[in-house]
Symmetry: C2
Subunit: 353 residues, 2 copies
DNA sequence: TTGTAGGCGTTATCAC
DNA sequence: GTGATAACGCCTACAA
């Protein structure tokens, strides 16, 4: 009864089995098979065993798409990265996928290349997936994006940076502060001429935030900020140009310390220093950001900041899972999770005044 | 008749608009709105304009989930990577997402960490998404995985490596061959003692393939292969250990050239050489694999192989799109797309015999 | 160019 | 513990 093939032209999905096929084979109704997957404890042990056997035998896999539609929420967590190809975001992604692995949630990724517009577009696309949660990696969205986020009514997490007072859960660390940390590291050693070196073409707006933090720390110390912007795409080359420019200044007026926007630039400087007849850190102290894998191996080994990249991704995903279990955080719950960004002091930042 | 709200407790989705809402507002039927999205040319210009206005105003976004279910194929391309956090796979992913961007297809990612079992699990999960296509990054699947792939009946692409005779479309280059290329590079310079250095804990089975290619090339030249396996997790450290081991051998019997499993190991060796009182490449020529960004900046600059990572990802995605447009490739179409893996000769591999 | 009917595979709701 | 029924939001097929 309840014959499926109502008419001759009824649509039929390719060859794959459905929950009804499994149910028919087991001689039960399809809802029971559904329960087998979603709340096995409600199915008798004997039946459970029988279903398992059948499912294994025919290789049935429940359709996420149909399940998502019926239950009202797709089984996806969507994440908008700023630069998928960078080590930073790769680590974030790995943290997320590892954490999501067991939950049956899939990670849907988009890349915004540090652009607000692309981010908005990605969010718009994601809305169509009715995601379980959304993970973003910046705080300044377009008004349209911000409106969508509020309307979505699902957990939204802003990871990587940490900005107080946002309406969404934060996981990460304050980037402005990191610039200040490096500045103070040199100020405490008695430096007075500290330069921040960044690339003109830096898409990464976070580098600008670090420059800002650096400038604030300098101002607090009553010193003049000195941000050098280099017009060169390649980060290593830009770093090399930064150190070379320094080498042309008279020793008594050139910066005593250089803070590079990231470790790649700093590495470029360290590797190029011998060609400029500079001995580091004697002639100039150096620091970077990001703790690239090469940094500890350079000579001098590079002082840098080590953000907990993987952990931030992991924590963001974990937060999603928690909010799903516990429901949206109660009104005054802490929604700012500060993850460490550790200052790793190595040889390169040792000042020789 | 056919009243929708049959009973009082009928399920209602949250607040988001549906295609019916849009249709009602425009005074047309919902199928027309569907056409507006899927084949706008079938909708009159005037109506198109009106719909656009309404859709923009209420911020309607079609549900991918419902659409996927109704049309029988989710709008997703699934990809199983071996190590999401590595630069290699990050570049592949970027190539794919960039190419898929405009097509309305989303990339669903999973990470297998070089494990066959995890890959099988990922494929099983993906099957539930009824993906439009599947992109894999290895060739040796578990029997169960292989069975699923055949049953899936969708485009399956194996990217990164290139193995002849596979039933699936191939995009990449033969990894075994790359090991031979490096070996020959040294053989042609007259070297007779060439060592391949890899890490014991290398998960990357591709490194083993390169070692194999190296060994074959050595055999062809009538020379003995010499594969050194170093028990050390950290790649840079392993490379450093490799060069240090060499430094302890008498100059007249130690390897004249070292082929490292990857650029990180080679970089570790180059950076550690001064500490071993070795001058490179005079005391030993060096080559790596992967063309890491640092490699060109090292002194000596590192000779390496440069796989077209981004292009492989891009090409894989493009192949998916093509197969969707043109239908599955005709019987005897070429299904092996060889993408370049270029030998980049730099200072480090210059032999001094 | 536009509309009607019904199904895609699953789950929520209520009943037994 | 198990089942009948009706959605979920959209799209294919066919009709006008």
């Amino acid at each position: 009864m309840t014959q499926k093939q109502t008419s001759r032209t009824t649509r039929r999905k390719a060859g794959s089995y459905t929950i009804h096929d499994v149910a028919a084979l087991a001689g039960v109704s399809s809802i029971t098979v559904s329960r087998y997957f979603n709340s096995p404890e409600k199915v008798s042990v004997a039946l459970r065993e029988r279903l398992r056997e059948i499912i294994d035998r025919i290789g049935y896999v429940p359709s996420q798409v149909a399940g998502g539609l019926a239950s009202g929420h797709g089984r996806v967590v969507c994440a908008v990265m700023q630069n998928i190809a960078s080590a930073t975001f790769a680590d974030l992604v790995k943290g997320m996928t590892d954490e999501l692995q067991a939950s049956g949630l899939q990670l849907l990724l988009a890349n915004a290349q540090y652009s607000q517009e692309l981010e908005e577009q990605a969010i718009r696309t994601f809305v169509g997936w009715h995601p379980t949660a959304l993970i973003l990696t910046r705080h300044d969205h377009t008004p349209a994006a911000e409106a969508m986020l509020r309307a979505l009514n699902i957990p939204v997490i802003e990871a990587w940076g940490l900005v107080p007072g946002r309406p969404f859960h934060q996981v990460g660390f304050p980037h402005i502060e990191t610039g200040a940390i490096l500045a103070r590291h040199f100020l405490e050693q008695g430096a007075t001429r500290i330069q921040f070196v960044m690339s003109h073409t830096t898409e990464d707006f976070r580098a600008k935030q670090r420059a800002q933090g650096y400038a604030q720390a300098m101002a607090s110390a009553g010193l003049k900020a000195d941000v050098q912007v280099i017009a060169q795409d390649d980060e290593f080359e830009a770093g090399a140009m930064g150190i070379e420019a320094l080498s042309r200044l008279a020793a008594n007026c050139r910066p005593q310390a250089l803070i590079f926007a990231n470790d790649n630039m700093a590495a470029g400087a360290i590797l190029h220093a011998p060609a400029c007849n500079l001995v580091l850190p004697r002639d100039c102290a150096i620091a970077g950001f990001g703790d690239a894998s090469i940094s500890a191996r350079l000579r001098p080994a590079l002082t840098t900041l080590r953000p907990a990249r993987y952990q931030i991704g992991q924590h963001a995903a974990r937060t999603v899972l928690q909010q799903l279990t516990l429901g949206p955080a109660r009104d005054n719950t802490v929604v700012e999770d500060l993850l460490p960004c550790e200052l790793v002091i190595r040889e390169s930042s040792q000042l020789h005044l």
